[in-house]
Amino acid sequence: MASFYELTAYELHSMLQNGDITAEELIYSLFDRIQKTETKIKAYITLLKENAINQARLLDKKLRNSNFFGILAGIPIAIKDNICTKNIRTTCSSKMLDNYVPPYNATVIERILAEGGIIIGKTNMDEFAMGTTTESSYYQITHNPWSLEHVPGGSSGGSAAAVAADETILALGSDTGGSIRCPASFCNMTGIKVSYGSISRYGLISYACSLEQIGPLTKDVRDCALLLNVLVGRDPYDSTTLNRPKIDFLATLDEDIKGLRIGIPKEFMGTGTAEAVSKAVWNAVHLLESFGVTYDEISIPLIDYAVPCYYIIAMSEASSNLARYDGIRYGYRVEKDEGEWNEIFAEDRLAFGPEVRRRIMLGTYALSAGYYDMYYLKALKVRTLLRNQFEAQFKSYDIILGPTMPTTPFKIGEMISDPLAMYRTDIDTVAANVTGLPAISIPCGFSDGLPIGLQLIGNSLQEELLLRVAYKFQQETDYHKKKPPIGG
């Protein structure tokens, strides 16, 4: 039998309920595993062993003495370090927030705790979620469990690597331009970015507020659905959350997908796409075809403009969102006392790494007098058009399909010196953020031992459908069941 840490949340849920395992045993099993693999992977910035054990013990007691059984009762979960956890250091992988301890919980954390979930640690990420490789962290580079010389993807690289290396059962990431789906793809995990407004952003340290959503990184689609059951819902603390009716995402997973129509935009399969990737994607399409799904090759021309459109909006918002880091109320502050506000301010902000500084500056430029119309407002119009083009396709197709990333994982160091080249690799993921549409990434093959991700984009609020198709795919394949060769 597999070790406890190898199981999914769904499997563990019934084991915990039946008393086959206690929450405490599970936590110990997991931390043993972490001890063996974490030195190679470096997925965590903060590990909360003692906290987790105490919480597990309390929970075990509660499970014995009451009929409480939350959806996540006793399930360990790792949290990306840009999601605020009360009394637990939350760094955004930045020197700026090195010793920042939030006095409040993000709404998603409250929801997880209410369902009995156990937070075991905070995971590494690109600084302030700005990156595709998790290399821009102030602390460490996270290694891809499938190949330690490769990046785990970003920016939620720590969360994806932790799940992939069985260093957690579930993980939360955040996706501003692909930051859940990219590492899901690179680490052979399942990750979903929900329709904008479905999951509260309260407590998510903003990078680009109109684009990002928190979401699950899990071992399979079923766990993804399970975690969504906890996360999705209106939050009075986030004005941009939708009042969606309560959905049980697990309940509809088994429903048939026969007759669904899939559109495959040629823009997702452009020249930048690695041959192995397009091959794996086409194999996936043909497998889906065998389940009674039809497909057409289509064109959504504006996808070619999605990356610049995305970066202009993201950087503009970021330049404003990150203005608050001045070292006055929290965060890094230079020692010296003398000096004028603007000077000290600019010195405090040297605690930002180069990529963060670049994005703040470019965003400042895009919003500044004389350039605002040319960049920011123009991008908002392109955004409207991109949305229109997707909407038009959803009249004929239920799902838009393509690769998640144009390639398999990059080598560590390969992208770091060429930001523009790195931006371009977001070509397949950013459209879903710019349009606010839901998109899921699931494993669909390997090339030279490195994972390939399949991306399904749905119409607004169609997560259920995405999960159903992805679930069917996982029922008939075992890519997602493969374990990385890290031993331990």
Partner: protein, 94 residues
């Protein structure tokens, strides 16, 4: 060319980002490349197109004028780097 070294300096000032001479040079080159790429969106005809300002198409989200507890005292200064009595200490203004 979209941007000169002087402009990079000005933006750095607007963003309160301190740059070394070398960074100013490098950023000028890099920013021009990136802005070149951004300006690709000029190719898109957006006449008579509305802006999409928000991530979601909803309106009128409010809360009632009901008091909620403020932070407990022990939490307020937990993260404040410099403090004097019950004030937060900031650099001088001029």
């Amino acid at each position: 060319m979209h941007i000169t070294k002087d402009q990079v300096e000005h933006i750095a000032w607007l963003a309160r980002i301190k740059l070394t001479e070398e960074e100013k040079e490098n950023y000028t080159k890099l920013f021009n490349d990136i802005l070149d790429y951004f300006r690709k969106i000029d190719e898109v005809d957006t006449s008579n197109i509305d802006y999409t300002f928000h991530g979601v198409d909803i309106k009128n989200v409010f809360r009632d004028d009901t008091i909620r507890p403020s932070l407990p005292k022990e939490d307020i200064f937990k993260n404040v780097p410099k403090r004097k009595d019950n004030f937060v200490k900031a650099p001088r203004m001029v």
